[in-house]
């Protein structure tokens, strides 16, 4: 008989087997391997790079693979001021990402236009694409970006991914 633990099995007999639900495991896989597409438009990109460097290490969260190709990434991090001139290009990049995809608006400019209430700046990237996590700061510290990433991971863990997949298969 195995000792009383959460998972009631004897590892010597059954090996390392974990029982879980399909949805939980899909969400776990997705949240821990988010490949970002860094849309580094302005100063927040420097903090994004700092978060990817060794001191703050975004690769602890599975996100070191910063694919600059939208077709190979699943997280769009909009880091920096989105001007109207760049806005539609950002939307085009978002459209090219395959599902499932998430968006982090990093910094004040990407969230709401920041200090730039002017003729040239889009007042928040959420006027164009759906944003999952807003990170405030000008620029946000790398730790703030990592906290935002962790919040996104929590959000993904609660997603009903299986029902979405089933709908896609049925359709």
């Amino acid at each position: 008989m195995s000792n009383e633990s959460e998972i009631n099995y004897n590892s010597k007999v059954e090996g390392n087997i974990v029982l879980t639900t399909l949805e939980a495991s899909i969400n776990w896989m997705r949240q821990n391997s988010l490949w970002p597409m860094p849309m580094g438009l302005a100063c927040c990109a420097i903090e994004l790079m700092a978060a990817a460097s060794s001191r703050f290490d975004i690769s602890r969260f599975g996100a070191e693979v910063m694919r600059f190709s939208p077709r190979q990434s699943d997280l769009l991090i909009v880091a920096g001021t989105v001007t109207y001139k760049m806005a539609l290009a950002t939307k085009r990049i978002y459209d090219q990402m395959p599902d499932p995809k998430w968006v982090i608006a990093m910094g004040a400019c990407a969230s709401t236009g920041g200090m730039y209430r002017s003729y040239a700046v889009l007042q928040g990237i959420d006027n164009l694409i759906p944003v999952d996590v807003y990170i405030s700061g000008c620029p946000p510290r790398p730790e703030a970006l990592l906290e935002g990433l962790m919040q996104l991971q929590k959000k993904i863990s609660k997603e009903k991914s299986l029902s979405t997949l089933k709908q896609e298969v049925a359709a």
């Binding site: 109207y84 001139k85 806005a87 539609l88 236009g113 730039y116 209430r117 002017s118 003729y119 040239a120 700046v121 007042q123």
Partner: protein
């Protein structure tokens, strides 16, 4: 300083009554040149040795008769002499000769002046907008253009919407007489 006095004299001799020399201010010399002579004066200055165009900028004196001022900051690198050359341009006749043939750096500066103020440059090899997108209908840095912008739509290229100023821009209050010259924070009478 002695150098520039000689320069001032030789140039006022060559272009009588076309160059006005402003009084020396904090060690900086400014010339005001009439628009028709501008290209000649600048070419002559380049031959004289002013081989660096540091900046080409424009000023909008909204409400004054020659509305725009175009300012060339020149530098003679060999002797570290700076010179500012200005010219006044009215709104109805707002085209100036391009100095791209004299200093190649003027290319982008003139594109910016065209984009932001609407000043046209004759002889410019590639006069199109540089900061805003092509097809944007306004010239945003003119004083009668509101800070929050106006709505425009160019499908597939760009769009713009007026930004919510919420009573801003929130700047520290300047002294009283400066408030009249900043019409952007208040709705202008023209629109």
């Amino acid at each position: 300083m002695a150098d520039l006095t000689a320069l001032n004299e030789s140039f006022t001799a060559r272009f009588p009554s076309k160059i006005q020399i402003r009084p020396l201010f904090r060690g900086e010399t400014t010339w005001v040149v009439e628009r028709a002579e501008l290209l000649q004066v600048l070419t002559a200055l380049k031959e004289q040795g002013f081989d660096l165009l540091i900046d080409l900028s424009t000023v909008d004196n909204f409400g004054d008769e020659p509305r725009f001022e175009i300012v060339y900051e020149l530098c003679q690198l060999s002797s570290n002499q700076n010179l500012r050359v200005k010219s006044f341009i009215s709104e109805d006749d707002n085209s100036v000769s391009s100095v791209t043939s004299i200093w190649a750096t003027a290319n982008w500066h003139e594109r910016e002046a065209y984009d932001m103020m609407g000043i046209l440059f004759e002889g410019h090899p590639d006069l199109r907008r540089i900061l805003m997108w092509e097809g944007y209908p306004f010239h945003p840095l003119k004083k009668d253009f509101p800070l929050e912008g106006k709505a425009t739509e160019m499908p597939d290229i760009a769009f713009s919407r007026p930004a919510p100023l919420e009573g801003g821009p929130f700047v520290t209050a300047p002294s009283d007489h400066v408030i009249e010259r900043e019409p952007r924070a208040r709705p202008t009478e023209l629109i």
